[in-house]
Symmetry: C2
Subunit: 121 residues, 2 copies
Amino acid sequence: MDDDQLSQVFAALADPTRRDMVARLAVRDATVGELADPYDVSVQAVSKHIKVLADAGLVSQTRDAQRRPCHLEAEVFDLMTKWIERYRQQAQDRYERLDGVLAEMRGDERPTDHLQRGAAS
Amino acid sequence: MDDDQLSQVFAALADPTRRDMVARLAVRDATVGELADPYDVSVQAVSKHIKVLADAGLVSQTRDAQRRPCHLEAEVFDLMTKWIERYRQQAQDRYERLDGVLAEMRGDERPTDHLQRGAAS
DNA sequence: GTGGTTTTCAACCAAATGGTTGACAACGGT
DNA sequence: ACCGTTGTCAACCATTTGGTTGAAAACCAC
């Protein structure tokens, strides 16, 4: 289910630590230890964070001996962007249409249906 | 703190019910009751959801008698898009650079450090 | 094979989350 | 003035989340 992945992706990025990890993975791949380094938490905690990112499809892990290098997966970002863009666009359009309506009815006392919610009438 | 708002926005959109509400608010403004209608949960629960969206800055509420019409705020989407675009772009760039490297070394048997993680040796 | 490094698994804990119900505030209609 | 409607607040409950510690798996190096 795509909706479910979207939920996972948003949830994953809701955490500042995980967003920071993504930011660093955008620059270069890194092992769990390398990722854990800057933070003042246990490696286990970071490992969990990576699992969350991986489950969301934002990160993939491969093997290199004991190490598990993490790689940022760019495709998932498109999923988000698509979702956001759709509704941002609609909201924006409505806003601009309202602007047009307001300009059009300068001096008119009857609000159009765009403003119904405010119309006590 | 901008980082904090970003966390709130992502967290708010991690819930499918709230995403659906946003989708409907993108079409038209709606009261709490109207928003609650399609869902099989109490109005109180929906009221809470709206509070989360409002705290994140995604939604604003006004007054109309007993009713509290909700309005989608488009600007916050830009905050998200900006964050996402930055890292998507970097990841994309890196990916394309890798493509270039791969093309450049056609026939070479030694993988560069870009591929280390996959190299079983 | 023994030991060190890297990472994950398991159990546990405190805090946050999403839901419930009950009470009540705010308002319009009659 | 009352009643119905609309929405929020408060208390509560189950589940999830982000952290901890301890143990163990997987691997290289010696």
